[in-house]
Structures are given as structure tokens and as C-alpha cells.
């Protein structure tokens, strides 16, 4: 069904492109929707489908879309002015550079911190401290993942925690799904707690010009609250698996586990720990220093660590994941095209009509539309495209000035991502890691756990927003 929906989207994209060309040839424009409106919509939907259906790498699809926007604008627009979408200079204004620099700064810091082995060491200590209590072990690792997601980011947390969790699960004789699926779901919930936790949080928080603390006071309480129904559901779903844990472990496996879980670089741990602490202090006190943006703090931390550790800079730059940065820049450009041609205003008008003047209805729509959409399609382009809609609704609906619709968008995009494997990047990465250990996590098996957690947390978030705001 998901595939059919996405193929439907791609078809609408192609029809949009063909419709735009037809419109161009059939009649001279005299106001109303111009061909550029349809063509920019078509490009966006095709990129969306290409990403969600895995036709090509996400970055390749987004880059191709951005190039298409410019080519149509410059080459098509030379012959037919109605094809002007957005020029290069205008599109640069749509790129949120705060997001790009924040992600880059955190990537440099995380690349160095991840080499210390600290997370593996903590995971192994957790295993030891649980003393054979499988429920306590899983819950501890799940909470560790949620906290790491909030302060590093969700994908990094999964890459750091899941491989060792698979080994721990095999050591205690429990199916690795009982560890990994809850960790993935926790990473998506924990990621919502801070502005650096996951991409929708970073994109919306940066758009609003929020400091780390501004964001934290609104989102951390609901993220923590969402952990309660999540932990209850997970405890119920895995009660039988966790009851079957071994009490005696193989000495060879324990030795191997311990070998994988030691601190690998103490000087680096000391330096990155101090810089990380400094960054956290600055994140919390940023408002005192003239509202220093999180991107400046992240980049400063990365710069200090680079200067202190003196890593091989070529290797360091190689470890920055440029594909992510290019993906974000390209998506901002494509969505900029949608804004410039009036597509976003048109969509906002439709949602505005549905909501009327009711802030409650608008809040419900802004939680559940992104929530459902994030379970089917890529949530980053969806969030970027939804932001101007949230702007429009906030400006037009009485009482929305408190920002509730932005919080609704973040919670919808983050928590909805738990419903299916495709819902967010940590889910896809965890499936790949499990596959590398010989465990194939299918769509239906993930949904068995993901859907109830997504529904319960989205419901809780909706109630929270309606009551609190």
C-alpha cells in the first residue's frame, strides 16, 4: 500500500511536469497559477518519491531536484518567462545556514568523540550492573539511547549503541530485536527533546531562531513524558523474550564482549569530554551571551577540539558526512522553489480552510498530518516544506502566536517516524546493522512495535499541546 501511495505521488509529480508544459504551450498566462507552479510541484514530488522509494541515494535525488529547479529557471525561463521558478541568489536565501553549520559542527565533534570507545564502555558497564536482570538491562540501554540521541543525535546514538547491544543480546540468549527495536524507537523520542537531537528538531528550532534552552523547555518535558507509555508498551511486548534470558554466559563470548567495550583513547576522551561539557554549558547559558546560536556553539566546540587534538585534517574532513550537508542544502533550495512559485501558500490555504479559526483543530492537524506522513515518506523534506505552512497558520489563526503549531510539527514528524522502518534514518540504519548480524527486520515486524508506540506517543503529544498551550 505504501508503495502504491508513493508511486501515486510520483505519478502526480510526472503529471505536474507534463501539466506545466501543457499549460505553457496551451495558453499565455494572465495571472493565477503559472507553469512554474506545476513544474516546481512536480520536481518536489519526484524527489520525494525518489527518496522514499529508494530509486537513488537521497542526496543524489535532492541534488538532481535542485539542479532541475535552476535549469528550468535559467534555460526554460530564457524562452518562456512563465518558467521562472527561483534564481541562484534567491534560492541561497532559502537555505538555513544555521542548520548546516550546526550539523557540521556536531559531526566534527561526534567523529572525534566516537573514537574514544566511551559509549561501548558505558553499555558494557550497564550490562554488568544489570546482573542478569534482562528487563533492567533493556530499559537501561533504551534510556541510554534516548539520552545519547538528545545530546549527540539519533543516528549517531544508534550507530554507537546497537552493534554492542546485538552482542549483549546474543550473549544473554535473547533475540536482538528485543534490544534493538526499543533502542530505535527511543532514539526517535529522545531526539525530539533537544534542538540537536534530530533533523526535524534542528530545522524547526533553527527556523524559529531558538536557543538550546528555549527549545529544551518546550520539548524536553513532552519527550520525557512520551517515554512512559513507550516503556510500558515495550515491557508488555517483550515480557516473554526478556523472561527467557540465560543466567550463565559463555566465557568466550564475555571475553569478546569485554574486548569490544573498553576505552580506546583516554587522552581523547578527556579532551572531548571537557569540550563536550563546555558546549553543554554554553548551550544552557547561550541566552546570557546575546542568544548565541547553537550552530556557533557546535562549531566553536569542534574548532577547539580540532585545535587541541590536532587530528589529521584530511582524515577529519573525510569523516564529515558531506552527503548530509548537500542533502539539506538541496532540499532547502527545492522547497524555496515551492515557496517562490506560490505552492506553499496554496497548500497553507487548504490546511487553513480545514482548520478554520480553530487553534485546536490546527494543532491536531499539525501533529497528525506530519505524524502519518513521516511514517510513509522521508520526514526531512516534509518538515522543510511544512514550515512555511506553520508560519502561515501561526500568522492567521488567533492564539497561535505561542508557537504551538511548530511544536506540533516537530512532535508529529519525530514521533510519527516510529511507525515504520522508513519513518526515520535511525530505523533504516538499525535494519542494516541487524542484517549484518544475520537478522532481517521486515516491515511488518517493525510495525508490530512501532505503530502502537507511534500512536500512543502522538496521542499523548496531542493532549499535551492542547492542554499546555
Amino acid at each position: 500500500m505504501k508503495r502504491n501511495i508513493l508511486y501515486g505521488l510520483a505519478t502526480v509529480g510526472i503529471v505536474g511536469l507534463v501539466g506545466g508544459i501543457w499549460w505553457l504551450l496551451a495558453q499565455p498566462t494572465d495571472g493565477g497559477y503559472e507553469p512554474a507552479f506545476f513544474i516546481s510541484t512536480g520536481i518536489f514530488l519526484l524527489v520525494f518519491a525518489a527518496i522514499s522509494l529508494r530509486w537513488m541515494h537521497e542526496t543524489a535525488a535532492a541534488l538532481l531536484g535542485a539542479a532541475a529547479v535552476w535549469l528550468v529557471h535559467y534555460i526554460g525561463g530564457t524562452y518562456f518567462p512563465a518558467l521562472h521558478i527561483i534564481d541562484f541568489e534567491e534560492s541561497m536565501a532559502f537555505v538555513d545556514w544555521n542548520v548546516i553549520w550546526l550539523i557540521m559542527g556536531m559531526m566534527i565533534f561526534m567523529a572525534m568523540f566516537s573514537e574514544t570507545g566511551a559509549i561501548n564502555w558505558i553499555s558494557f558497564r550497564t550490562f554488568r550492573m544489570a546482573k542478569g536482570n534482562a528487563w533492567l538491562l533493556v530499559m537501561s540501554l533504551v534510556i541510554l539511547t534516548a539520552v545519547l540521541s538528545a545530546f549527540l543525535n539519533d543516528v549517531t546514538a544508534i550507530l554507537l549503541v546497537v552493534p554492542l547491544s546485538i552482542e549483549i543480546a546474543q550473549t544473554v540468549g535473547i533475540h536482538p530485536f528485543a534490544f534493538v527495536i526499543p533502542e530505535v524507537l527511543a532514539s526517535n523520542i529522545g531526539g525530539a527533546a533537544t534542538i540537536i537531537g534530530d533533523p526535524p528538531s534542528t530545522i524547526v528550532g533553527s527556523h524559529l531562531g531558538l536557543s538550546f534552552v528555549d527549545y529544551l523547555v518546550h520539548m524536553a518535558p513532552i519527550a520525557i513524558l512520551c517515554m512512559i507509555p513507550f516503556l510500558i508498551i515495550i515491557s508488555l511486548l517483550y515480557r516473554r523474550d526478556l523472561a527467557g534470558a540465560k543466567e550463565q554466559f559463555s566465557p568466550a563470548l564475555m571475553a569478546r564482549l569485554e574486548a569490544d567495550a573498553h576505552i580506546t583513547d583516554f587522552p581523547l576522551l578527556r579532551k572531548s569530554g571537557l569540550v563536550g561539557l563546555l558546549m553543554i554549558i554554553l548551550f544552557f547559558t547561550g541566552d546570557y551571551f546575546g542568544g548565541i546560536p547553537p550552530s556557533v556553539i557546535a562549531l566553536s566546540g569542534a574548532a577547539i577540539l580540532v585545535a587541541w587534538v590536532r587530528p589529521d585534517m584530511h582524515r577529519m574532513l573525510h569523516e564529515v558526512d558531506w552527503t548530509t550537508l548537500i542533502f539539506f542544502i538541496s532540499i532547502f533550495i527545492i522547497v524555496g522553489g515551492l515557496e517562490a512559485t506560490g505552492v506553499i501558500a496554496w497548500m497553507a490555504g487548504i490546511i487553513g480552510d480545514l482548520a478554520g479559526d480553530s487553534l485546536k483543530m490546527a494543532t491536531i492537524l499539525m501533529v497528525w498530518i506530519p505524524g502519518i506522513a513521516s511514517s510513509i515518506v522521508a520526514n526531512i523534506p516534509f518538515t522543510v516544506a511544512s514550515l512555511p505552512i506553520a508560519d502561515f497558520l501561526t500568522a492567521t489563526i488567533p492564539g497561535a502566536e505561542n508557537g504551538v503549531l511548530y511544536w506540533a510539527l516537530i512532535l508529529g514528524a519525530d514521533l510519527g517516524g516510529n511507525a515504520t522502518i522508513l519513518g526515520s534514518a535511525p530505523n533504516i540504519v538499525a535494519v542494516g546493522l541487524l542484517s549484518q548480524a544475520g537478522y532481517r527486520l521486515g516491515f511488518g515486524r517493525f510495525m508490530r512495535d512501532g505503530v502502537p508506540v507511534a500512536i500512543a506517543t502522538l496521542l499523548l503529544a496531542t493532549v499535551w499541546l492542547l492542554v499546555w498551550y
Binding site: L159, P163, A252, L253, F327, I428, L433, S435, G438
Partner: protein, 144 residues
Amino acid sequence: MGMILCATRGGEASYPTQDAVISLAKERGDELTFLYVADVSFLNQTAAPMVVDVASRLEKLGQFQLVMAQERAAAQDIIAQAIVHTGQLRAELVVVAKEIDATLIVMGGSLGPDAAFENSALQVFAADLQTETGVEVRILGSSD
């Protein structure tokens, strides 16, 4: 004495193959080497920031999986070697087969939802591998 090379990822789906190849090594009096290939190509499916050294983490995961395989072999009085490589399965199988002078390459048959290959794809893969290495390739542990 020959040398059997068995590629394995670990996991419950691979246990029948591991048991079968251990029995085969015992029966033939051959040496046995397990190979785990850490393949990071799955990271290409998403544009999320990948700053962790995933290959190195998967190599550790592979070493763990092979300790489990070696324990299964030891339970049947077979001492198996373990090799972990990073790359694509087929290319690494060819490299390792030459390195250790393998006389037989063993792969696991398709067993349920955790299997790496469909049976038909596995047959084609095995035939191509045999042509490329000149070493007999056998599929064990299949449910067929």
C-alpha cells in the same frame, strides 16, 4: 588435508549451515575457516550523518559472530579459524579463498526470513563464484 571456507553472518538463520559445515569438516578431516564480511553499503540508503567508523564497529561485531561459530565448532571437537574482512561478500570470498588455499567454499542455503539470499539467487552466486575461484562451491544447510 583440505581447507573449507565458510562465509557466515551469524544469527539463528546461519546455525544450520554452521553445524553442517562443522560436520563436513569432521567427516573429511579438513581444516575449517569461518569468514565474516563487514559490508557498510547499507549506509547508502540514507543521508543521515554517518560520522562513526561503522566499518570498524562491524568488524568487531563480526569477530563476535565468529566467536559464536567457533564455539559451535569446538563443541564438536573442531578448531575453526576466523577471518573478518570489510567489503563486498563476493570480492572478499575470492580474496580469502586464494589467501588460505581453500579447497571448498561453503555457503548457507536460504532459510526463512533471516536468510541473506533467495535460493535461486544463491545458486547463481555460487556458480559464478566457482567459475571465478576455480574452487568447488557447495550450498549447505538449505531447507530444500
